[in-house]
C-alpha cells in the first residue's frame, strides 16, 4: 500500500475530505430545496431531482474510489464489523434515499425483519445497498423493493425493481466478474463496473467461519425487473 504519510497520499486524503464536504453541502441543499418544493409549484422540479440523482452518483463513486484506494477487499482495509439490527440498516438506507425517491415519484417498499441482529460493517453495507437503490432509481418504472431477511443461515438483502431488468450482456459479464473471474474490458470501462466491483469486494470481506459474502445479479424477482442480491454470512 502507498505510504499513508507521503505527500501524494496526504493531498489525496485532504482533497477527498474537501470534495466530500462539497458534495455534502450540494446534496444537502438540493434535498432541502426539493422538500420545500413540489412539481406543481416549482417549474425546475424535475431538473432539481435529476441534479440530486447525479450528485448521489458522484458521492457513491467518490466513496467507492476512496474505499478502493484504502484497499477494500484486503487486510489493509479497516473493516469494522459490529452487531446491528437489520431494521437499523434499512432505516438508514431509507433515510438516505427518501428525498431522491420522492422527487422521482418512486415508491420504496420494505420487507425487512427489523429485530434480526447481524454482524457487518455498517458504513460499507449501507453504502452498497444505497448505491444499489440509486442504480435502481435509474432503471425502475415506479417501485423498488428492499428485502432483508435471514435465509438458510445467511442474511439476504435484495434490491428489486419493476423496470426492464438487466440486459443479458450485463448479467453475463456482471455475474462472471462477481464470481471472481476476470473482468471483461468492456465491463471495466462500464460505469456499472466500479459499483459492482466495490460491492463484491465488500461482500467478500465479510467472513464467518468458512463462509464469505457474495453478490449476484438476476432478472425477475417479485417485481419482475432487475434484482441485486447481497448475501452475508
Amino acid at each position: 500500500m502507498e505510504d499513508p504519510h507521503s505527500p501524494l497520499s496526504l493531498f489525496l486524503a485532504s482533497t477527498a475530505h474537501d470534495m466530500k464536504n462539497s458534495i455534502s453541502v450540494l446534496s444537502g441543499t438540493l434535498e432541502r430545496l426539493l422538500v420545500d418544493a413540489s412539481p406543481e409549484t416549482e417549474k425546475a422540479y424535475p431538473q432539481m431531482a435529476q441534479m440530486l440523482y447525479q450528485t448521489r452518483r458522484l458521492n457513491d463513486n467518490l466513496m467507492q474510489l476512496l474505499a478502493l484506494y484504502k484497499q477494500v477487499g484486503t487486510a489493509d482495509y479497516p473493516l469494522d464489523v459490529q452487531p446491528l439490527e437489520v431494521g437499523q440498516l434499512a432505516e438508514q438506507v431509507v433515510a438516505l434515499g427518501r428525498v431522491l425517491l420522492e422527487s422521482r415519484g418512486i415508491r420504496l417498499e420494505l420487507d425487512v425483519d427489523p429485530e434480526l441482529v447481524w454482524h457487518f460493517d455498517e458504513d460499507l453495507i449501507v453504502g452498497v445497498v444505497s448505491h444499489a437503490i440509486n442504480n435502481a432509481v435509474h432503471y425502475t418504472r415506479e417501485r423498488i423493493l428492499l428485502v432483508a431477511r435471514e435465509r438458510e443461515g445467511w442474511l439476504e438483502i435484495r434490491v428489486e425493481d419493476d423496470g426492464a431488468g438487466y440486459p443479458a450482456a450485463l448479467l453475463e459479464a456482471g455475474n462472471a466478474a462477481l464470481d471472481g473471474q476476470a473482468f471483461g474490458v468492456n465491463f471495466l470501462t462500464n460505469s456499472a463496473g466500479l459499483g459492482l466491483h466495490f460491492a463484491r469486494e465488500v461482500a467478500r470481506m465479510h467472513r464467518h467461519r468458512d463462509r464469505r459474502g457474495a453478490v449476484r445479479l438476476e432478472n425477475g424477482g417479485r417485481l419482475g425487473g432487475g434484482c441485486f442480491i447481497l448475501h452475508l454470512p
Binding site: H5, S14, A16, H17, K20, N21, S22, I23, S24, V25, S27, G28, T29, E31, R32, N59, M63, L66, A67, K70, A75, D76, P78, L79, D80, V81, Q82, P83, L84, E85, G87, Q88, A90, E91, Q92, V94, A95, L96, R98, L101, E102, G105, R107, L108, E109, L110, V112, P114, E115, V117, H119, D123, L124, H208, R209
Partner: protein, 572 residues
C-alpha cells in the same frame, strides 16, 4: 409520496414510547468548513432543535464546552490547525465537560482507522461518515440514546467501582436486549477482569466467540493466558489477532509485553515500533516507544519517539512530562547536557501545576544526565540536592521512580537516603518477592549485599508485625482499637496493598457489627479507591467494594449482609 415513505420507515420501529425529544436538547457543531456547519445546523433545525452553538476550531470548541454542558456534540475529526476532533473529545472527557448522558458523534470524510483500533480510551459514541443527512443523523442519535439507556445503570455502578453489581446488571440487560448482547458481554468481561475473576472473564469471551470471531474477545483470552504466565501461547494468540485485524492496536501492546516477559526485548521493540507507525499521533504510544528504546539503549530511535511525542502533544491534554524527561536522558547520552537542562526547565514550567513530583523527577534526571555524561562533580551535587528534597517531605513517588532514584544516589556516592528509600519500598511491598530480588540487586551493585539482605528482612518483618497486630485486635473483638491501629499502619505504609485491604475490611466489619457510619464508609471507600489505583484488577477489591456499597442504607429494606471472611494474616 411523502406519506408513504415515512409510513414505511415508521413501520420498522413502531415504538413511539421511546421517542426522544431532540428538539429540547442543546447542540454544539464543530467543523472548520462553514458550509458543513450550516448544513448540520439546518439538519438539526429540521429535528426541531433551537439551541445550536457552532465552533470552527478545536480551541473554540473547548471554550464553548467549558461554558455549557451540551446534550449533543457533532465534531469533525479534521479541524485544520490546532486540536483535532479526537483531542477535543479527550480533553472534554478528561476535564469532565461532558455529562454521562451527553452524546458525542465524531464526523469524518471517510472511514477512519481510529474507529477500528478498539483500544482508544476515549471513544466517541459513534463515528459518522459524510455526507450526513437528517434521516441518518436521527437514526444514529436514536440508536446512541437507546444504547445509553441500556448502559446507564451499568455505567453508574462502574463509576462507583462496584464492578460485581455492574456485571450482574449486564446479565440482566443481556436477557432483555438481543441487539446489545455483544457489547454487554464485552463490558461484562472487562468487569470480570477488573474484579480479579479471570475464569469468569474467559467464560464471557468464549460466549462471544461462539457467536462470532470478534478479535477483541480472542485478545481477551490471550490476555488471560498471559496473566497465567503462559507467554508463548499468548504470543501466538496475539499474533493471530493481528493477522486477522492489523489495526487492533491493543494486541500490539500486549504482544510486545509477551515478548518482554520472555526476555525478548528487541522483538518487543519492533512490535511497539509497528504500532507507533499505525497510530503515529498517539501521545502515550510514542512515550512508551521512547521509553522502551531508552531501556534498550537505542538512543536514536528513543530521540525520534520523544521528539514526536512532544510535537503531537502540543494541542493534546495527554501531553506528558515523560517525553521531556526521556529526551533529556537522550541528550545526556549524546553528551549534550545543555539541551538536557533546558528540557528539564521546560518540563517543570509546563507541568509543575499538575505534577507535584516533577521537581523530584527532574532532579533525578539531572543527576542521571550528569552521571552518564561523566560529570561526576555535578552528578554528586544533584544527588545532594535530591537528598534535601526527600528530607523536606514524607511523600514518596511510585516504586519505579524510587528504585531509579536509589540507584542514582548510590552511584553518586550518597548512602543513607537510598537505603531509606529501598526499605520504604520493601515495607510497602512486603509480599512481592520479584521486587525484593530487584532491590537486593541494587544493594549488591552498591557493594552492600549482606547488609541489604538484613535490611530487607527487617523491613518485611516491620510490615508483617504491623499487619498481624491489627488482625489480632480485630479477632479479639476490639474493633475500635483495630480500626485505629490500621489507620496508623496505613499512615506508616501508604502503599502497602495488603495493609490497605485489611484496613478496609476491618472498617467494613466494624460497620457490619456496630452499625453504618458515613464517616467510616467514606474512609473505607477512600482506602479502596487508593488500592485500585495502586494495583487494579484485584479480586479482594471487587469483593470489599460490593460489601461496602451494600451497607449504604437504601429506601427499600436493606439486604442481609453476608458474613465477612477474616482479614488475612501473614507469617513472618
Amino acid at each position: 409520496m411523502n406519506a408513504i415513505a415515512s409510513a414505511v420507515v415508521g413501520a420498522i420501529h413502531p415504538q413511539p414510547a421511546e421517542q426522544v425529544d431532540w428538539a429540547g436538547k442543546t447542540y454544539l457543531v464543530v467543523d472548520d468548513f462553514i458550509g458543513v456547519r450550516q448544513l448540520l445546523r439546518e439538519a438539526l433545525r429540521s429535528l426541531g432543535a433551537r439551541n445550536i452553538d457552532q465552533a470552527s476550531s478545536g480551541g473554540e470548541a473547548m471554550a464553548l464546552l467549558g461554558r455549557t454542558r451540551y446534550d449533543v456534540v457533532l465534531c469533525d475529526f479534521n479541524l485544520g490547525e490546532g486540536k483535532n476532533g479526537q483531542q477535543v473529545l479527550e480533553e472534554a472527557r478528561m476535564r469532565n465537560l461532558l455529562l454521562p448522558s451527553s452524546v458525542f458523534l465524531m464526523v469524518s470524510a471517510e472511514k477512519s482507522v481510529e474507529s477500528v483500533m478498539g483500544a482508544a480510551e476515549h471513544q466517541p459514541d459513534a463515528y459518522l461518515v459524510k455526507p450526513i443527512t437528517e434521516g441518518v443523523l436521527l437514526t444514529r442519535l436514536n440508536r446512541v440514546w437507546r444504547k445509553k439507556q441500556v448502559f446507564s445503570l451499568i455505567d453508574q455502578a462502574y463509576a462507583e467501582k462496584d464492578y460485581l453489581r455492574a456485571a450482574r446488571l449486564c446479565d440482566e440487560q443481556i436477557a432483555a436486549n438481543k441487539a446489545h448482547e455483544i457489547d454487554l458481554l464485552r463490558m461484562k468481561a472487562r468487569l470480570m477482569e477488573r474484579s480479579g475473576e479471570p475464569a469468569r472473564a474467559r467464560e464471557t469471551y468464549e460466549r462471544v466467540l461462539a457467536q462470532r470471531e470478534y478479535q477483541w474477545a480472542r485478545a481477551g483470552l490471550a490476555k488471560i493466558r498471559m496473566a497465567d504466565g503462559d507467554y508463548e501461547q499468548a504470543r501466538q494468540m496475539f499474533q493471530t489477532v493481528i493477522a486477522e485485524n492489523r489495526y487492533y492496536i491493543d494486541a500490539y501492546d500486549q504482544l510486545a509485553l509477551a515478548w518482554q516477559k520472555m526476555g525478548k526485548h528487541e522483538e518487543a521493540l519492533s512490535i511497539l515500533e509497528r504500532a507507533a507507525k499505525l497510530s503515529p499521533n498517539s501521545v502515550p504510544r510514542q512515550r512508551s516507544l521512547g521509553q522502551a528504546c531508552l531501556r534498550l539503549g537505542n538512543v536514536g530511535m528513543a530521540e525520534k519517539a520523544f521528539r514526536k511525542c512532544i510535537q503531537i502533544g502540543e494541542y493534546s491534554i495527554r501531553k506528558t512530562p515523560d517525553a521531556y524527561l526521556g529526551l533529556a536522558r537522550v541528550c545526556g547520552l549524546k553528551n549534550d547536557p545543555k539541551e538536557a537542562l533546558q528540557l528539564l526547565i521546560a518540563a517543570q514550567r509546563e507541568f509543575g501545576a499538575e505534577h507535584p513530583d516533577i521537581e523530584l523527577r527532574a532532579k533525578i534526571t539531572e543527576g542521571l544526565v550528569y552521571h552518564e555524561s561523566g560529570d561526576y562533580r555535578r552528578a554528586r551535587k544533584a544527588g545532594d540536592e535530591l537528598e534535601a528534597l526527600l528530607a523536606a517531605t514524607p511523600e514518596r513517588p511510585d516504586v519505579r521512580t524510587c528504585l531509579e532514584m536509589a540507584t542514582l544516589l548510590f552511584a553518586v556516592g550518597v548512602k543513607e537516603a537510598p537505603v531509606d528509600l529501598l526499605c520504604y519500598v520493601i515495607r510497602n511491598n512486603h509480599d512481592n518477592t520479584l521486587l525484593q530480588d530487584e532491590v537486593q540487586a541494587i544493594f549488591d551493585k552498591a557493594r552492600m549485599g549482606e547488609e541489604g539482605e538484613k535490611l530487607i528482612r527487617g523491613a518485611r518483618k516491620e510490615a508483617i508485625d504491623l499487619m498481624n497486630q491489627g488482625v489480632l485486635l480485630w479477632k479479639t473483638g476490639k474493633l475500635p482499637e483495630a480500626v485505629e491501629w490500621m489507620r496508623n499502619a496505613r499512615a506508616a505504609l501508604p502503599h502497602n496493598v495488603r495493609i490497605l485491604f485489611n484496613s478496609a475490611q476491618i472498617l467494613i466489619s466494624h460497620m457490619q457489627q456496630r452499625g453504618y457510619s458515613v464517616l467510616l464508609h467514606d474512609e473505607a471507600h477512600g482506602v479502596l479507591a487508593h488500592v485500585d489505583r495502586l494495583q487494579p484488577g484485584q479480586q479482594r477489591f471487587a469483593q470489599l467494594m460490593e460489601q461496602l456499597l451494600a451497607l449504604v442504607p437504601k429506601e427499600e429494606p436493606p439486604a442481609v449482609a453476608e458474613p465477612v471472611p477474616a482479614p488475612e494474616t501473614s507469617a513472618a
